[in-house]
Amino acid sequence: GIQVEQSPPDLILQEGANSTLRCNFSDSVNNLQWFHQNPWGQLINLFYIPSGTKQNGRLSATTVATERYSLLYISSSQTTDSGVYFCAVELDYKLSFGAGTTVTVRA
């Protein structure tokens, strides 16, 4: 099956810092999504981004489908940004998830 690798596995930030999370995938995919898993375990949709660049407030994402990677940018991080960020790619109508990046933002 398709392999999805996220880096780094863990990230500790000072409040206000910027960061970049990366997602590499092993095969061509139809779609790609980024999720934030909050402390209660809920998966919150951040971006649906099969290609190109999107922005939503302090977050933005870029997917370069031809090179099989996606990047999630967090700018001016806040403590509420803490949690696990998952990348998931869709092929044959199902999502395959990466192992996630655990982000801790310190005040």
């Binding site: 139809n30 999720f35 209660w40 809920q42 998966l43 109508y93 199902k94 999502l95 998830f97 996630g100």
Partner: protein, 111 residues
């Protein structure tokens, strides 16, 4: 308002007992999914359900698991005889050839 509502939010059960987890989509969709996340691990695909039939299932989805959409609305995941290793968060999702939306999850604890 969530796209998908799941019940119960948390269930504790004894090993060997049957468990039914429920999912109610807010609007009518044809594609539904169950995913599982063991604590601290990544989210894993269990089964997809299209037009009231299983479309695809993973190796995890063995004979202990079953899915139904009994009344055309609720979508259920049944675990016939729970094992300790079934302890996990179970997510229902709706979607298809596009963005998937997940429910808030049902946390299952097997003792």
């Amino acid at each position: 308002e969530p796209e998908v509502t799941q019940t119960p939010s948390h269930q504790v059960t004894q090993m060997g007992q049957e468990v039914i987890l429920r999912c109610v989509p807010i609007s009518n969709h044809l594609y539904f999914y169950w995913y599982r996340q063991i604590l601290g691990q990544k989210v894993e695909f269990l089964v997809s359900f299209y037009n009231n039939e299983i479309s695809e299932k993973s190796e995890i989805f063995d004979d202990q698991f079953s899915v139904e959409r009994p009344d055309g609305s609720n979508f259920t995941l049944k675990i016939r005889s729970t094992k300790l290793e079934d302890s996990a968060m179970y997510f229902c999702a709706r979607g298809g050839a596009g963005e998937l939306f997940f429910g808030e999850g049902s946390r299952l604890t097997v003792l």
